[in-house]
Chain length 405, copies 2
């Protein structure tokens, strides 16, 4: 029997308890031992709930109990999670976490601590909710050098963009509705400004390239500037707009960014809609693979946490997470990254297209009855720097969105 | 240093050698040791090729060499692969294989042999080519009870169906072209009759449900009856036709079959086109996940084989494949499986719809200028048995295709 302690009885924490109770027999069979929840740490009490008998308010009770082999951190936020996790590892307890802020900020240190002590620090649920992606990156794609990892990593923004597209509605209106439905937070900045996706692509990039990618270094642009007009034009060009977190190795350098991006039907992420997430990986021998599933939600996230617990039970004294060193990976300057751009401009196409061609060279332009007084065009491939220089030479640009492959 | 022997220097075997040479440094780092190819078994010689110095013609050379820890079986076919693999395991050598016939037929026995000896028998490449699916099923989805596993498991038939749809062409014509391009075998039965997909869904089902699913028990229907006319009508109903291998747990029983199936845009497999494969899994807590990638091809398949080799190097004396017992899983009779059906009939809709409604109850019928003298309809949900009984009461049915979710 292996005793575990769950830190936090919120959405994910109660989900972990529920999953372990629901699939008790099959989980214990796969783990090879019975998993018992000995403690649940929470500031609150839950009178009448069977969990109450396991509730403790003092973390030291867990830390000092040598019978606890695994600590499950599902509180979120950097502190006190970081202090708790660190002290658990110091005591020789493995840790499973769903906490992307913690992993993005302190992942390499906590991985190294676990490795030294022949225990484990696992975090499958920190990216892509229930989608198996951390373990496949670490254990399945071992024959490959990763060339690219690009994902729809935030369900809230994907829900908003899908709804805007399907119903041709404006961002503010759909955001408000998503908030009412509980799909978006009251303070939506972490989602809609891309901060959440940024932490997740930092984690994936660190794993894929084996070195620490600091999320603060990643150029991050949210979806607040995307309008119903852009969606009309994108549709006309055969594109859909997705918030992508993306890391690419080009000429030995890693380019990493989070930004709304237009993609075509050929891209496997094109049909990842609603609250779903999708993560595309390109390996130098494997070619393209994609992982798709529920990027959030109580039970899918808890399922991923419990899969880490099972792995830790199976590997109580063996470390299994090998990549991601603390050596900092210096990202390439995205100003040098080359791509095509979508540009929306004020004015009639008939009057302004010539001017746009003078500035940008060959373009593909369209107009739409649904967007009077404006038109849109796609540029040829150019660097971000070159785009900015050219765009500064012309008046009337209302929005620009990057084109993906 | 770990010595390996590769059995067979065909497409996959030479791919394995190429992948190990190409990504030498990163592979050794992830394995924690240097992987050296000591022998390649092949009946042929390859004068002038650097591999020649490793070529042996006698398998006993490999078997008797205690320095060889891992045998890589990439010959295909049940014999002599089975004899070779069994004797390797008996000698305490781990085995990695890409051989779906071998795994479908003898998987449970070989897994048990490896488990007893604390070595490994791994077969990531036997299903879905480069797509990580075996390891995720075995090691990632451990918190879940699997409710469904449905896949586009054969790239050749998916290429043919995609081409038929995109270009509105007939099966025979597209098959011939696929043969000329090397996407289909000269004898295409294994692919187009669904036998290949059948072995693969047998392997996935055995892993997902933990008991032996015999491929001989699986109802299997190929794509040879699908015509351009069906594709016209499918399109009109908003469906695409895919060859799906599918296992579902319904009321405690497992229904398993391989058949062309119509699916809508809501299904994540809808946009898996061309030679790509996609595998959809539904867990009772995880919800829906999908894995997508190259289902075949020299390097993607070799990438999966090498990922098994890396795992075996990391676990030289620890068994890691736990599920799939030899206890036979008795599949439910698919005659009782319920679904909707697409039916194509001879005759004008105006004349025959009433008769069809009399037999099938409520239906949705369409006709098309592109298919003169015929019409098509969708039935309500009914069992396969009920469908057959009703269909026998009416003349003029040309084809019927099952509707997926």
């Amino acid at each position: 029997m292996v005793n575990i302690a769950v830190l936090g009885y919120g959405t994910v924490g109660s989900g972990v308890v529920e999953v372990i109770n629901t699939n008790h027999d099959s989980i214990n069979k796969k783990a090879g031992q019975e998993i018992q929840i000995k403690y649940v740490l929470d500031l609150r009490d839950f009178p009448g709930d069977p969990i109450q008998e396991k509730i403790v308010h003092d973390y030291n009770r867990i830390l000092e109990d040598d019978e606890v082999d695994i600590v499950v951190e599902v509180m979120g936020g950097v502190e006190p999670a970081y202090t708790y996790v660190k002290s658990a590892l110091e005591k020789g307890k493995s840790v499973a976490t769903s906490n992307k802020e913690l992993v993005a900020k302190h992942g390499s240190e906590l991985i190294a601590m676990a490795k030294e002590r022949k225990i484990n620090f696992l975090f499958e649920a920190s990216v892509g909710g229930g989608i198996p992606i951390i373990r496949p990156l670490n254990q399945s794609l071992t024959a490959d050098e990763i060339c690219e990892i690009t994902g729809i990593l935030n369900g809230t923004t994907n829900y908003i963009l899908t709804k805007m597209r399907n119903e041709n509605r404006e961002f503010d209106e759909v955001l408000k509705e998503a908030q009412e439905l509980g799909y978006a937070e009251r303070n939506p900045a972490a989602d809609v400004e891309g901060y959440d996706a940024c932490r997740k692509i930092a984690i994936l990039s660190s794993l894929a390239f084996g070195s620490q990618v600091d999320y603060e270094d990643i150029y991050t642009e949210g979806i607040t500037n995307i309008t119903a007009k852009d969606i009309v034009f994108a549709d006309q060009f055969g594109y859909t707009i997705k918030l992508l977190g993306s890391s690419k190795r080009i000429d030995g350098q890693i380019y990493c960014m989070v930004a709304p991006t237009m993609i075509t039907e050929d891209n496997p992420l094109y049909s990842v809609n609603g609250v779903f997430n999708g993560i595309f990986v390109k390996g130098n021998v494997l070619g393209d693979v994609m992982f798709y599933g529920s990027g959030a939600g109580k039970l899918p996230t808890a399922s991923a946490v419990v899969s880490d617990i099972v792995d830790e039970v199976k590997h109580l004294h063996t470390n299994i997470m090998t990549t991601w060193s603390s050596r900092k990976l210096e990202l390439a300057d995205i100003k040098n990254a080359k791509k095509r751009f979508y540009v929306r401009m004020e004015g009639a196409r008939s009057e302004k297209q010539a001017e746009a061609e003078e500035v940008f060279g060959a373009i593909q332009a369209v107009e739409s009855e649904k967007v009077p007084g404006e038109f849109a065009f796609l540029t040829e491939e150019m660097s971000e720097k070159e785009y900015e220089e050219r765009a500064a030479k012309i008046k009337g640009i209302v929005n620009r969105i990057r084109i993906g492959r």
